[in-house]
């Protein structure tokens, strides 16, 4: 914390942190609460909180501060909407060569997967998607969430187990 340059209250520094963290934070909130609970607003709120505390938080701590705030954010919110995570529909073009049966089966699979992901616990879902969609390492996730690597691995495994159970086997 030497000199004013390093201060988060400096717009330049704040901006830098925003550029580095906003995407990750948004994705985290999206995984946690889904599209219907305004992850973008929640992300902005976390940054506003960081700004409110810009004198107390050092730039190195900003990232974990943001995630801690984001993680606790909705706890006292009411009217929380059901978690909805959308998947990208496949292009029409790539589907033209497939048989109607395949398309049907594929859609059904995606829907089952979507539902199963939405039904995971928040904790499992966040760790699982950060790992499988974002490709984040177990260690990185542990740091972000402030938990042990073992706990991360456990959550991911539990998620996989629950998903596999719900979506069932590939029909052959």
């Amino acid at each position: 914390m030497e000199g004013a340059d390093q201060h988060i209250c400096e717009e330049r520094v704040f901006r830098k942190i925003f550029n580095e963290c906003s995407r990750d934070l948004f994705n985290f909130l999206y995984y946690k609460y889904g599209a219907e609970n305004h992850p973008e607003d929640l992300m902005q709120e976390a940054f506003t909180r960081l700004w409110d505390n810009c004198k107390k938080v050092s730039p190195e701590k900003a990232r974990s501060f943001l995630f801690t705030v984001a993680n606790n954010q909705m706890l006292n919110e009411l009217a929380k909407k059901k978690t909805v995570l959308n998947y990208q529909k496949e292009d029409q073009v790539s589907q033209t060569n497939e048989s109607p049966h395949y398309i049907l089966e594929e859609n059904e699979y995606m829907n089952r997967l979507q539902k199963a992901i939405e039904e995971l616990t928040e904790e499992q879902r966040v760790a699982f998607l950060l790992n499988r969609v974002e490709g984040k390492k177990h260690r990185e996730i542990a740091e972000l969430l402030g938990i042990s690597q073992k706990a991360v691995e456990k959550r991911i495994y539990k998620a996989v187990e629950s998903l596999q159970q719900k979506i069932g086997n590939i029909s052959t």
Binding site: F18, Y30, L78, Y87
Partner: protein, 304 residues
């Protein structure tokens, strides 16, 4: 190695070459593979980082208590009513038709907010409420941080939600206080239901529900018809001393520190919200304490 161990190793990417070859021939693996490739389609949506940053900047101005007049920008911000010490800008319903409305007070301020159904909320210092005007017809729900007095119009269920609990009423007057380790609901008229740490409890007039560090108590209080803070006085009945000092900090722009004092002891009494010296005397003399003022910092300590 069993299935679970294979999957765990696969997840951690620590399967040896031989193990991998073996595992890849199983159905379990094919199922995982399929899921993994399907997951790629769950990438989160894009968001406009620039617009987001602008909104954060806008919210930040709240700190400086500057009211920006860029209405279109404000409209895009959910819950961005910015009101400083001088309530020049009484809210305008037309501008905020569709988002959640937030009203807040600073240190030493109180303010009255009229809800869409003409129910009235009075906020004590350092408090905020939020509600959705859009959904008001279906759901009379107010989120509260801090302390407020509610005078509710008769009608459908009315709810006040704080971090620690929910108060449900039909039409009545009551006060909710949710501060740090302290949660208190006092019913002044009618009947309210409190659902917090314990099973739901019904309160009638002059009854209080209180939770201090998760300890629940109920009491009948000797109180006036409305909270004293509406008349610029803070009143306490058997309230932990720490909470009394916190209230002092919220009413006056000061930091209160203590030295060798039991801050869990219970205080009964009142102090004015407009005269710091009298207030300090009121909270120290009964306990045989004294205080030192050092700019904005106040130290409370033993009298001798």
């Amino acid at each position: 190695m069993n299935n679970q161990e294979y999957i765990e190793k696969w997840l951690a990417d620590t399967l040896s070459k031989e193990e991998k070859t073996l595992f890849e021939q199983t159905d379990a693996y094919r199922n995982l593979q399929r899921m993994d490739s399907a997951l790629k389609r769950f990438t989160p949506p894009q968001f406009d980082a620039e617009a987001s940053f602008e909104k954060i900047k806008l919210r930040r101005q709240k700190e400086a208590k500057v009211i920006s007049l860029q209405w279109p920008a404000i409209l895009r911000v959910a819950a961005a009513l910015i009101i400083g010490a001088s309530v020049l800008f009484y809210f305008s319903d037309t501008f905020f038709g569709s988002s959640e409305l937030v009203y807040e007070t600073g240190i030493g301020e109180t303010r009255e907010v009229v809800l869409p159904d003409q129910s009235i909320v009075t906020l004590n210092a350092k408090s905020s409420i939020a509600f959705s005007k859009e959904n008001w017809q279906e759901e009379r729900t107010v989120k509260l941080e801090g302390e407020a007095f509610f005078s509710v119009q008769r009608g459908e269920k009315f709810q006040v939600v704080t971090a620690k609990g929910t108060v449900t009423v039909l039409g009545t007057q009551f006060n909710v206080k949710d501060r740090n380790q302290f949660y208190e609901v006092i019913c002044y008229e009618g009947r309210v239901q409190v659902a917090a740490n314990s099973a739901p409890v019904q309160l009638t007039a002059k009854h209080a529900y209180r939770e201090v560090r998760k300890q629940t108590t109920q009491a009948v209080l000797e109180i006036a018809d409305t909270p004293t803070w509406l008349n610029k006085e803070s009143e306490f009945e058997s309230v932990p001393y720490q909470e009394v000092l916190s209230e002092l900090e919220r009413q006056y722009e000061v930091t209160v520190k203590t030295k060798d004092i039991d801050i869990t002891q219970l205080y009964t009494g009142r102090f004015p919200n407009t005269d710091l010296t009298t207030a300090l005397k009121s909270v120290t003399i009964p306990f045989g304490l004294t205080y030192q003022v050092n700019g904005k910092e106040i130290l409370v300590l033993h009298g001798d």
